[in-house]
């Protein structure tokens, strides 16, 4: 059970060496630096210490990072190489990393500028293309209109173009116009569902009257400023421009495609900037005098020696001390290799605080076991385990993803084992196939029971699992109390409940086990109840002395907790019965060729569906049993994760050379 022990360190060093010292500290990657803001306002510290701000440098890098991020995104859209399902960081040795940056920095920055330039050009081209497209759409209705667009009038007439709503009857409009003047020429050029496009020539002297009529019909004048020649000519010109632009766009795209080879280098540069920025941030946070710097923070006790070596090398003044009793430290979990993946389940809930136990080793077994009971199928187990371990072996997973997938692999193995115990292989696939296609009766004998047939046994077994689980949780609570030397608390919180729960169990069902068991149960229960009631009288003060009465009411919670494990039976049955029903349905089309094809198709779909739904259900309910039933007995949580000062690169993993 391991929450890693943390030590507190304080370092004072010579300012000249600060940068290279921080670089090495970063590479060491075992320290968490504390913020020093509060000390700047502290009366004792404030006159001594100052703070060399590096805001400008940090902001500058930040804006560069944003630009590169966009550049990489743009390049990504032109990158035609196949993308893997899990994107892993590339491993790059430290010397290559440093050398590439030294040698290539300028070239990379130039490339970034080229790409930015290309992006701007392509944006501009796309804008122009959009504009032209809109213009062409506007002109198209006038394609048959022969008069040059730039002619608004002649010596005696006005030439007018415009639109009227589709409901306007053009003939009627013509008549109305001819009523006011006889020298007017109105023509319908084209029409679409939204508009009717009309042209109009009339004498200047009739302008006012004509306008009056036009208004009535909702006429809207249109003009094409800056265009010369007929509409058709203009459209043709635009079209040729479009071809030109499309060519240019292809050229720019080709330019992007050519730059894709530089993606790796740019990613490297991005990571270099990230680490530079992190270093700057750390330097920004430290306190300084004219000639020295000051930092403090946390380090895992076992890594203290590494830090000391580095500190001696730099001739720093330092102090590494254990935290005071009860002081909250950052939390880092450490378990053996087997259990480590299940830390993800603990982290999903909450990290333990630094004063309590890491529950991972205790509940790991139950988590994996309960998952297996609920999923319980040899076939599904094999698939889950194979998929998970294959992904783990591929070496493409890192960090929490790696751990999570690996623990799914454990669950797969457990599922297989419980599948064997309950005699289930893709439901009852083998018996169904044997009977349907080969006319033979095959039965898979379960190692223990078939939960569908023997469901009462299974129910009792599920509740017993719950009893064991809850007892272990109470045990952990007792252990935690004893570790702190609180014996009475341990008895009050755990031992009396053991007595009471076991007593009640024996009282109710004990006589089935051996004669006189219910007698023993009776006395155990009475002792338990007495303990629950009496102990708080000695431990509490004032009204708290009566806490026992309230605690006794907790018996109902234990009962509902234990019944809650019936979900082990429910999910187990749901998964296997559904699988069996699907198998039966699949065998209905008969045993001919079509029957076989139908069978395969239905079985594939049905089992993929059942696999996904059951796996999710088993996972959710297995962690629920840990979080709600198990953790509620002793777990506090609320730990603050240990965040070491180290490389947080995004694209490459910097590995140390082996000497």
């Amino acid at each position: 059970m391991a929450v890693v022990k943390m030590n507190k360190f304080t370092i004072i060093g010579i300012d000249d060496a600060a940068e290279s010292f921080m670089a090495e500290l970063m590479e060491l990657g075992v320290t968490e630096l504390s913020g020093q803001e509060s000390k700047l306002h502290d009366e004792e510290w404030a006159p001594l210490a100052l703070n060399r701000r590096r805001d400008l440098e940090i902001a500058e890098i930040e804006s560069k990072l944003n630009v590169i991020d966009n550049v990489l995104k743009t390049l990504g859209t032109y990158d035609t190489s196949k993308k893997p399902l899990f994107s892993a960081r590339r491993a790059v040795s430290k010397s290559t990393f440093v050398q590439t940056i030294q040698k290539d920095e300028q070239a990379i920055e130039e490339d970034i500028n080229i790409i930015l330039d290309l992006s701007n050009r392509i944006k501009e081209l796309q804008n122009t293309r959009n504009k032209i497209e809109t213009a062409v759409i506007g002109l198209e209705p006038w394609a048959t209109y022969q008069v040059p667009l730039e002619v608004p009038e002649t010596k005696y007439t006005y030439v007018s173009m415009g639109v009227v709503p589709p409901r306007v009857d053009i003939g009627q409009m013509k008549n109305a116009l001819e009523e006011v003047t006889n020298q007017v020429e109105l023509a319908l050029v084209s029409a679409d569902p939204e508009q009717q496009y009309i042209s109009l020539i009339y004498m200047k002297e009739a302008d006012e009257e004509i306008h009056g009529v036009l208004k009535q019909y909702g006429f809207n004048k249109m003009s094409f400023k800056g265009l010369t020649g007929s509409a058709a000519e203009n459209i043709a010109r635009y079209r040729s421009e479009m071809i030109e632009i499309s060519k240019k766009i292809t050229e720019v795209e080709q330019g992007f495609a050519d730059m894709v080879v530089r993606k790796d280098a740019i990613e490297l540069f991005y990571d270099y900037l990230v680490t530079t920025q992190d270093k700057a941030k750390a330097l920004d946070g430290m306190l300084a005098t004219n000639r020295t710097f000051y930092i403090d923070g946390w380090i895992p006790a076992e890594a203290s020696e590494n830090l000391e070596t580095l500190l001696k090398q730099y001739g720093c003044y330092y102090e590494i001390i254990a935290p005071e009793k009860g002081e909250e430290t950052p939390v880092l979990l450490k378990n053996n290799k087997l259990i480590t993946p299940i830390e993800t389940i603990t982290e999903l809930y909450d990290l333990p605080n630094s004063r309590e136990l890491d529950p991972t080793p205790v509940f790991s077994f139950f988590y994996v076991c309960f998952f297996g009971i609920m999923f319980a199928d040899m076939g599904y187990g094999i698939i889950l385990a194979l998929l998970s371990f294959a992904a783990v072996m591929s070496g493409k997973l890192e960090g929490n993803m790696y751990k999570f997938i690996k623990q799914l692999g454990y669950c797969g193995v457990s599922t297989f084992i419980w599948g064997a115990i309950f005699g289930s292989f893709f439901g009852n696939l083998i018996p169904v196939v044997a009977e349907n296609f080969f006319g033979r009766t095959v039965t898979i004998t379960p190692l223990w029971i078939d939960p569908v047939q023997d469901s009462m046994t299974m129910l009792i077994f599920a509740c017993l699992c719950g009893v064991v689980h809850i007892f272990v949780a109470l045990g952990v609570k007792a252990y935690a109390h004893l570790r702190e030397g609180r014996v009475l608390d341990a008895i009050n919180d755990s031992v009396v409940w053991y007595a009471l729960l076991i007593g009640l169990g024996l009282l109710i069902a004990g006589d089935m086990l051996f004669d006189g068991a219910s007698q023993i149960g009776q006395w155990l229960s009475i002792t338990g109840v007495a303990g629950v009631l009496i102990l708080p009288i000695f431990m509490g003060k004032g009204i708290n002395r009566l806490l026992g009465l309230w605690n006794l009411y907790g018996i109902t919670r234990y009962l509902s907790d234990i019944l809650s494990y019936a979900r082990l039976l429910a999910l187990c049955l749901a998964g296997s019965v559904i699988a069996q029903v699907f198998n039966t349905i699949a065998s209905m089309p008969g045993s001919g060729v079509i029957g076989v094809i139908c069978f395969i198709v239905i079985v594939l779909f049905a089992h993929v569906f059942n696999f996904l739904v059951s796996a999710l259900g088993s996972f959710v309910h297995s962690i629920r049993l840990q979080y709600v039933e198990f953790f509620s007995k002793f777990y506090e949580g609320g730990g603050i994760p240990f965040k070491p000062f180290m490389n947080h690169t995004k694209y490459v993993k910097i590995v140390k050379e082996e000497n």
Binding site: L348, L459, S564, R567, A570, A574, V577, L616, V620, R624
Partner: protein
């Protein structure tokens, strides 16, 4: 056909039908909320889908009971046994329906939680799974009744 068989079949209808309908409502609600979250942040698709899928379990409990009752329905010879099987279908049918709808509401807020804060999937899952507790108990009672026949 025997009255008993008809009654038993009606039990299967209640078990699978009601809880299935509840789950359908739940999935629908969750799906709407999920789509809204994904519109803002497409990366949340996987997480919201996982949460939405939790809503299927109540329906599956009902389906399970329905299948079990169907299995026995054809062997029923008297109407009392049929009525008994009908009764066995009621707990999971009724509680399953209500639990599923309630769970749907919890899933909707859970999905909103995921949308606002990343890394909270586990908590949202647990809230949704808590609702199922009483559907599990109802299934248990249905199952015990079924086993008495």
């Amino acid at each position: 056909m025997e009255l008993g068989i008809a009654l038993a079949l009606f039990g299967a209808v209640i078990a699978a039908g009601l809880s299935g309908a509840g789950s359908a409502v739940a999935l629908g609600m969750a799906g709407q909320a999920a789509a809204a979250v994904v519109a803002e942040d497409p990366k949340k698709f996987g997480q919201t889908l996982v949460l939405q899928a939790v809503g299927t379990t109540n329906g599956i409990y009902g389906l399970l009971m329905g299948f079990l009752i169907l299995n026995k329905a054809m062997e029923v010879t008297d109407w009392q046994t049929g009525l008994f099987l009908l009764g066995a279908g009621i707990p999971i049918g009724v509680v399953g329906y209500i639990a599923a709808v309630a769970q749907g509401k919890t899933m909707v807020t859970g999905i909103i939680l995921i949308g606002k804060k990343s890394g909270e999937l586990a908590k949202a899952l647990i809230y949704a799974a808590m609702v199922e507790t009483f559907a599990v108990f109802a299934l248990l009672i249905s199952f015990l009744m079924y086993n008495m026949v």
